[in-house]
């Protein structure tokens, strides 16, 4: 496994992980200029996914809040917190993703809703789209899918 280097100077942080893919780095994180400061809520029980999604959104200047269970998500929305974008995972602690999404839509939230999940069956996809989810994406959440959505929210 990878060794933790005893000392690392700032300038070589990227070098640490350079695997020849660095020349395409520019293409990997599709560069866009955001006009507005968007806000997003990430609802995901799995820490790894949650951290990654937040970081990806941060890199595009989106202010994000993350919760790891359904109850907190519903409480947050019910307390009138406003978001431009909500990203929800299908399987969550407390209530499942479908039930949470339904509750959020019932509260009357009108922002863009993105469902991100690992394996999905067509019936599940249809169920989510039927209750008001705007986009259903299979993991991983990548710039290719995210950027058009951010552009749309930013009015570009």
């Amino acid at each position: 496994m990878a060794h933790t280097l005893p000392s690392s100077d700032q300038s070589s942080d990227q070098d640490k992980w350079d695997s020849g893919g660095l020349e395409c780095k520019g293409q990997l994180l599709i560069k866009i200029v955001m006009r507005n400061r968007l806000t997003a809520l990430v609802v995901d029980g799995d820490t790894t996914c949650w951290v990654l999604e937040q970081e990806l959104l941060h890199s595009y200047g989106v202010q994000t809040l993350g919760v790891d269970n359904s109850r907190d998500a519903v409480d947050l929305i019910a307390s009138d917190a406003e978001f431009n974008l909500i990203i929800i995972e299908k399987i969550l602690p407390v209530l499942n993703g479908l039930a949470v999404t339904r509750q959020i839509c019932e509260i009357g939230v009108r922002c863009k809703m993105l469902e991100v999940t690992a394996c999905s069956r067509e019936s599940e996809r249809q169920a989510f789209l039927a209750i008001g989810v705007d986009v259903f994406i299979e993991r991983p959440l990548d710039p290719e899918h995210l950027v058009p959505i951010l552009r749309e929210l930013d009015g570009q």
Partner: protein, 111 residues
């Protein structure tokens, strides 16, 4: 071994994982997210992932050890593992989860 040699070794190791299909493009995305404001991002995410994955794999093993396997319980663990492994770019692990899910759907304990 000096620092430069260690760095080269790490670089080669990661490269070979890409070539063998252990890692995929998603891992490159994560590397691209690391910058001066977040200098240890890749390391942190990998650590997080390994801790979570170990826990989940232990649960999966435990479940499979039962006489009557609870496949729906197993399914949610596999789902979670597939989710985090595909988010981090652990390609082979993601594919293994897909296979496991398939077998689980068929209630195939042997598979």
């Amino acid at each position: 071994m000096d620092l430069a040699a260690l760095k080269t070794q790490l670089k080669n190791f990661v490269q070979s994982m890409f070539e063998e299909g252990v890692l995929d493009n998603q891992f490159s995305q994560i590397q691209a997210l690391q910058d001066s404001t977040n200098p240890n991002f890749v390391e942190e995410v990998i650590t997080l992932f390994c801790n979570d994955a170990e826990r989940i794999i232990n649960e999966i093993n435990r479940n499979l050890g039962y006489q009557n396997v609870d496949f729906s319980n197993l399914d949610s663990y596999v789902h979670q593992l597939k989710g985090s492994s595909s988010s981090i770019g652990a390609n082979r692990l993601k594919l293994a989860c897909a296979n496991l899910r398939q077998a689980s759907d068929e209630r195939n304990k042997e598979g």
